[in-house]
């Protein structure tokens, strides 16, 4: 058999049709990412320029999403907010994901006293509603995006660690873990090279969902004035800006809200798709 032929046959076996949810989720996220990286290409106006001749104008040809109380173009602000909100989705979750996964892998494998200590930390954390805990921490640290990442990280890693620890506990009792031991592999090698790739799937799926939740959280904190600070274009901040004008200028709040829903949907679909794809792999 010639090498290229062998390669083709090989990749044919490997190829699996991606689930439809992943395709749609991927399209939404891909477009969101493009908008987030090059917002000026899409935004018709500068997001922070005031225009006192066009205050609270309803949607029109000149301003498809209308204008806000400072005459800023809502469409441009929604578009520019992609940069910040996509950034929140990633930055608020990647730290907890990595740290939680490592800690969870260690706890799941070590078990015993470590597991007991970790169990108490989990209990202490989930006793408080997530949002309340994050708000409390941000209040202590002071408002702003950087402190919001810290606050979310301090609380969020627990959930990843719990998922990974539970999965590692299952995996370490399977024969291949014993086989690894019997081959004389060091514990770190067994955990991270052999067990973790088998245990990380739920954490990845949760991560996708968590990114959607992070956008909501970022918007909530932005709304409360604890996250992104005005005049930055951020969906939560924008909704907060519009809250006094709900009866007269609904468009200020509604369009950023729609953007949140669509992006959240993208992450959720992608999460479902990844879950399905990895399940088939097994």
């Amino acid at each position: 058999m010639s090498a290229p032929a062998a390669k083709a046959a090989h990749s044919l076996v490997q190829w699996r049709k991606p689930p439809r949810s992943l395709i749609w989720g991927g399209i939404i996220l891909g477009l969101s990412l493009i908008v987030a990286i090059w917002p000026s290409l899409f935004a018709p106006y500068d997001p922070t320029t005031f225009d006192y001749n066009a205050l609270l104008k309803p949607p029109s040809a000149a301003h498809p999403f209308g204008t806000d109380s400072f005459g800023r173009d809502v469409l441009s602000r929604v578009i520019h907010a992609y940069t910040l909100d996509m950034q929140i989705a990633v930055f608020a979750t990647i730290g907890p994901f990595i740290f939680g996964t490592i800690v969870g892998a260690f706890i799941g494998y070590a078990g015993g006293i470590w597991e007991a200590i970790f169990g108490r930390i989990v209990d202490a954390t989930i006793t408080f509603p997530f949002l309340v805990l994050v708000i409390a921490i941000v209040s202590v640290l002071g408002p702003g995006l950087g402190n919001m990442y810290v606050a979310v990280g301090v609380v969020g890693w627990v959930f990843y660690a719990r998922l990974v620890a539970a999965e590692i506990k299952v995996q370490k009792r399977l024969d291949y873990a014993d086989a690894g031991k019997v081959m004389g592999y060091a514990p770190l090698r067994i955990v991270f090279r052999h067990l973790l790739p088998n245990a990380i799937t739920p954490a990845i799926v949760y991560w996708m969902t968590d990114m959607a939740l992070a956008i909501l959280l970022g918007s909530s904190l932005g709304y409360l004035g604890l996250g992104a600070q005005p005049p930055a274009a951020e969906w939560g901040v924008q909704i907060a800006d519009g809250k006094n004008f709900m009866n007269t200028a609904w468009w200020i709040s509604v369009f950023p809200g729609v953007a949140i829903v669509i992006t959240g949907l993208g992450f959720s679909l992608a999460g479902d798709g990844v879950a399905e794809l990895l399940r088939v792999r097994r």
Binding site: A6, A179, G180, K181, V182, M183, G184, A186, N198
Partner: protein, 335 residues
């Protein structure tokens, strides 16, 4: 005991006892197990499910986890594996002693290609370069008889058939040319023709690599076909040992006799297969005296009170744990 191998540098197991603390009391999964494996020898551990044969094998490799507890000595080339520090044990595991498992699908890592898994062993125990590891992996695939080796190195375990998986498992285990292979029912999950191929492969590898093999199985046919010596286990204890030929010709323990009677044989008159009445005892609640007495037709008053020790009967290296071994041996041939 089995004097045949005690003075050389193989595996010497003495008084190996494995217990598990359970809510219903202490379960004695293996008790006072003694056996030796000489270099190049194939020893079979036989018994029903729950007789302690797999536990014995796992105890040797220190794979028993909490709440299990292992005591006794497992001497490998003069060093005690039970007391060995973890660091040193890692070098022995995989490097000098390897193990293969019953169900190759679960014993292989599902997310790593087979080639990577072979190389993992080489990374752990050798200083070979990436290129040499690749070459060695290819060589091993050829040794264990996996066709289109180059391509299959890239494939995942789920793309292998049952027999090929077990071959891959063997290739991984043999990567560093171990001197002792512990095989835990390696053919139980395979169909009979594949089973035969795998056993032939193991014997062939034993000859080529001059390694010893401990083969755990419940299949007497497998023992007869592959092993030099055998040890029969019941309720965690070895009840009879000897060369395969001797034990098959003239069993000295009623349990062995029962096992042999339950195997169909060719060349004999057609009769109903004999089975052993009753079920194995609960390990948390072993009967007094000889653990086999409730199922034994030779049992007397003495068997209910005293536990028969494993004593040499006849030739050296031949032992049985039965007060009535001479009667059992003298009883009419089975079928």
């Amino acid at each position: 005991m089995m004097g045949a191998a005690s003075e050389n540098s193989g595996l010497i197991v003495r008084g190996l006892t494995t217990t598990f603390d359970t809510p219903r009391g202490q379960a004695i999964a293996a008790a006072d197990v003694d056996f030796d494996v000489a270099p190049g020898e194939v020893v079979g551990l036989v018994g029903e499910s729950g007789s302690g044969k797999s536990v014995t094998l796992r105890s040797i490799m220190r794979l028993i986890r909490e709440p299990g507890h292992v005591s006794g000595r497992v001497e490998w080339r003069g060093r005690d594996l039970v007391a060995m520090p973890a660091e040193e044990l890692r070098k022995v595991r995989g490097g000098e002693i390897a193990m293969i498992f019953q169900e190759p699908m679960t014993a292989l890592n599902p997310v790593l290609p087979v080639g990577v898994q072979i190389e993992e062993n080489l990374v752990a125990h050798t200083t070979l370069s990436a290129r040499d590891r690749k070459a060695r992996a290819l060589e091993l695939m050829n040794i264990v008889g996996i066709p289109a080796a180059e391509r299959r190195l890239q494939e995942y375990p789920h793309q292998f058939s049952g027999g090929m998986r077990q071959r891959a498992m063997i290739a991984i285990a043999l990567a560093c040319s171990p001197k002792l292979l512990l095989a835990d029912e390696p053919t139980t999950a395979l169909d009979v023709t594949i089973q035969d191929q795998i056993l032939k492969l193991l014997l062939d590898l034993r000859d080529r690599l001059s390694m010893s093999v401990v083969l755990v199985t419940h299949d007497l046919g497998v023992v007869a076909a592959t092993c030099d010596r055998m040890a029969v286990m019941y309720a965690g204890r070895i009840v009879e040992t000897g060369t395969v030929a001797d034990v098959f010709r003239q069993p000295h323990h009623p349990y062995t006799r029962g096992l042999l009677g339950s195997v169909p044989r060719s060349g004999a008159a057609r009769t109903v297969l004999q089975s052993i009445e009753g079920t194995p005892p609960s390990l948390t609640n072993l009967p007094e005296g000889c653990a086999f007495h409730p199922r034994c037709s030779f049992a007397t008053e003495r068997c209910l009170k005293e536990r028969p020790p494993l004593e040499t009967v006849g030739a050296p290296g031949r032992a049985a744990a039965c007060f009535h071994h001479s009667q059992v041996a003298a009883a009419e041939a089975i079928l």
